[in-house]
C-alpha cells in the first residue's frame, strides 16, 4: 500500500512539473492556407460623375471589366492594372492627357523585358502609378526596382 502511495506521489509530481514544459501548442501542426490571394483590384463600377464624357469612359471601362477582365483573371503584370491606370490618369489630368498616358502604358506593357525597371508590390506586380506620368516633376515619386511597395 505504501509503495503504491509513493509511486502515486512521484507520478503526480512528475506530471505536474512536466506539464509546464509542454510546448505542444506552440510546435503542433500548423494549418496553412495555400489559396492564392485575390489580387484583382477592388472594382468600382459606380458612375460618380454627371459629365457625359466621364459617363462614356466609365461605361467602356465597366464593360471591359465585366465582360473581359474579370473573366480573364488576374493577368495584368502591373499595379494598378492598365484599365485602372486609365481611370487614374484621366482623373489626375484630363481625358486627352490621360489617353496619352494610357497609350504609353500599353506600349510599356508590351515590352517583354521589363523585369528590372519597376518596384514590386506585395502581390508581385510591377508598381507603376499614374502620378509618375503627369509630366509634373514634383509629383514623381521614384522608387528603385529593389523596393517592395507594401502600402500603395
Amino acid at each position: 500500500m505504501r509503495s503504491k502511495l509513493i509511486i502515486f506521489f512521484i507520478t503526480l509530481l512528475l506530471t505536474t512539473s512536466a506539464f509546464c514544459q509542454i510546448e505542444n501548442l506552440k510546435w503542433q501542426k500548423a494549418y496553412i492556407s495555400f489559396e492564392k490571394p485575390d489580387n484583382i483590384r477592388q472594382r468600382n463600377y459606380s458612375f460618380e460623375s454627371n459629365n457625359a464624357g466621364e459617363f462614356i469612359k466609365k461605361s467602356l471601362v465597366n464593360a471591359y471589366w465585366f465582360f473581359i477582365s474579370d473573366v480573364d483573371g488576374d493577368n495584368c503584370p502591373f499595379s494598378p492594372t492598365c484599365s485602372s491606370f486609365f481611370i487614374d490618369a484621366t482623373e489626375e489630368t484630363n481625358i486627352f492627357q490621360g489617353t496619352l498616358m494610357f497609350s504609353d502604358r500599353l506600349l510599356r506593357d508590351s515590352n517583354p523585358v521589363k523585369v528590372n525597371d519597376y518596384p514590386r508590390d506585395k502581390n508581385g506586380h510591377y508598381f507603376d502609378p499614374a502620378s509618375n506620368y503627369t509630366l509634373n516633376q514634383e509629383r514623381i515619386k521614384y522608387l528603385p526596382s529593389t523596393y517592395l511597395v507594401v502600402d500603395e
Binding site: I6, L13, L107, K114, L135, P144
Partner: protein, 282 residues
C-alpha cells in the same frame, strides 16, 4: 527505503529550477540585460532598462548610452535633452557634445551651421566641419569650390566619395525631356532609348512601325476601312510614345536625384555621421 531515497532525490531536482532566490531585478543584472539589448541594436528597450537604473547607479556611460540610443531611435530632441545629465568632467562630454551636433544635423542639415563657432576640442571641430560641408549638399543653390568641400576629409576613400557626390551635385547627368520628345517624334522609341529604356524604346519602334506598315499596305490595296483603323491605332501609339519619352526623361531625372540623396545618406550611415568609434560591445 530505496523508494524513499528516490523520492527525496527527485523532489529537489524538480523544485530547484523553480527557486526564486536569485535576484534577477538587481541594478547590476538590469544593466547587463540593457547592455545586451544595446549591443543587439534594440535601443528602445535598452533605453527603458537604462532609465530604470539611471538614478541608482549614476553612471556616465549609462547616461551617454541613453543619449546615443535616443539619437538612433530618431528622437533627436529627447537625445539632446539628455546632454545635461553628462557632467563636464565626464570622459564622454566631448562625444556627447558632438552627438548633440549630429542630432541637430539629422533634424535639419542646414540648422547645424548655427553651431559653427561653438567651442569644442580640435578633433571634434574637424568632425563638425565635415558635417557642415556635407550639409551644403542639401542646399538647392550650391556653388562651392571643390577643394573647400573636400578640405576636412583626409581619408582617401572619403575624399573619393565626397568628390563623386560633389560632381553629381554640380553636374547631375540629367536627360532633357524636350530632346527625348523630339527624338521620339523623329524616330519612334528613340527618346526612350536616349534615357536608357532600351526595351521600351524598341517595343515602341516595332509597334508603331508595324501599324504604320499595316496602314500603308491596306491603303495601297484599297482596303480603306482597315487602313484607317490601323492608322488610328498607329497614331495612338505614336502619340503615346512621344508623351512616354518625355515622362521617361523626367523619371530618369527623378532617379538621378534619388540616387544622389541615397548615396549621401549611405555615406553618412557608413561613416556613422563621423561619430567617434565606441567599443561598448566588446
Amino acid at each position: 527505503m530505496r523508494k524513499l531515497l528516490a523520492t527525496l532525490f527527485l523532489i529537489p531536482i524538480i523544485v530547484s529550477p523553480q527557486s526564486t532566490s536569485f535576484d534577477f531585478r538587481s541594478p547590476q543584472n538590469i544593466k547587463l540585460f540593457a547592455d545586451n539589448l544595446f549591443c543587439e541594436g534594440d535601443y528602445l528597450r535598452a533605453v527603458e532598462e537604462y532609465q530604470s537604473i539611471q538614478n541608482i547607479l549614476r553612471n556616465d556611460t549609462i547616461n551617454f548610452k541613453i543619449m546615443f540610443s535616443y539619437s538612433n531611435l530618431g528622437l533627436y530632441q529627447i537625445s539632446n535633452n539628455s546632454l545635461q545629465s553628462i557632467p563636464g568632467t565626464s570622459k564622454f562630454k566631448c562625444s556627447a557634445d558632438y552627438l548633440y551636433l549630429v542630432n541637430k544635423f539629422r533634424e535639419d542639415p542646414k540648422g547645424l551651421r548655427v553651431f559653427h563657432d561653438m567651442p569644442l576640442p580640435p578633433e571634434i571641430v574637424e568632425r563638425r566641419q565635415k558635417l557642415i560641408n556635407i550639409s551644403y549638399f542639401y542646399d538647392a543653390e550650391f556653388n562651392f569650390d571643390k577643394n573647400y568641400i573636400l578640405s576636412p576629409f583626409n581619408d582617401e576613400i572619403d575624399r573619393q566619395t565626397v568628390s563623386l557626390l560633389y560632381d553629381l551635385k554640380t553636374d547631375p547627368p540629367y536627360k532633357s525631356p524636350a530632346l527625348a520628345g523630339i527624338l521620339s517624334t523623329v524616330i519612334p522609341g528613340s527618346g526612350k532609348m536616349y534615357v536608357g529604356e532600351w526595351g521600351d524604346g524598341i517595343t515602341s519602334l516595332l509597334l508603331t512601325g508595324l501599324f504604320a506598315f499595316l496602314a500603308y499596305d491596306n491603303f495601297k490595296a484599297d482596303h480603306s476601312t482597315r487602313a484607317w483603323i490601323f492608322t488610328g491605332i498607329g497614331a495612338f501609339f505614336y502619340a503615346g510614345n512621344i508623351y512616354g519619352s518625355v515622362a521617361a526623361a523626367q523619371i530618369f531625372n527623378a532617379r538621378v536625384d534619388f540616387e544622389f540623396s541615397n548615396g549621401l545618406k549611405l555615406f553618412l550611415d557608413q561613416e556613422n555621421y563621423f561619430l567617434p568609434d565606441y567599443d561598448f560591445c566588446n
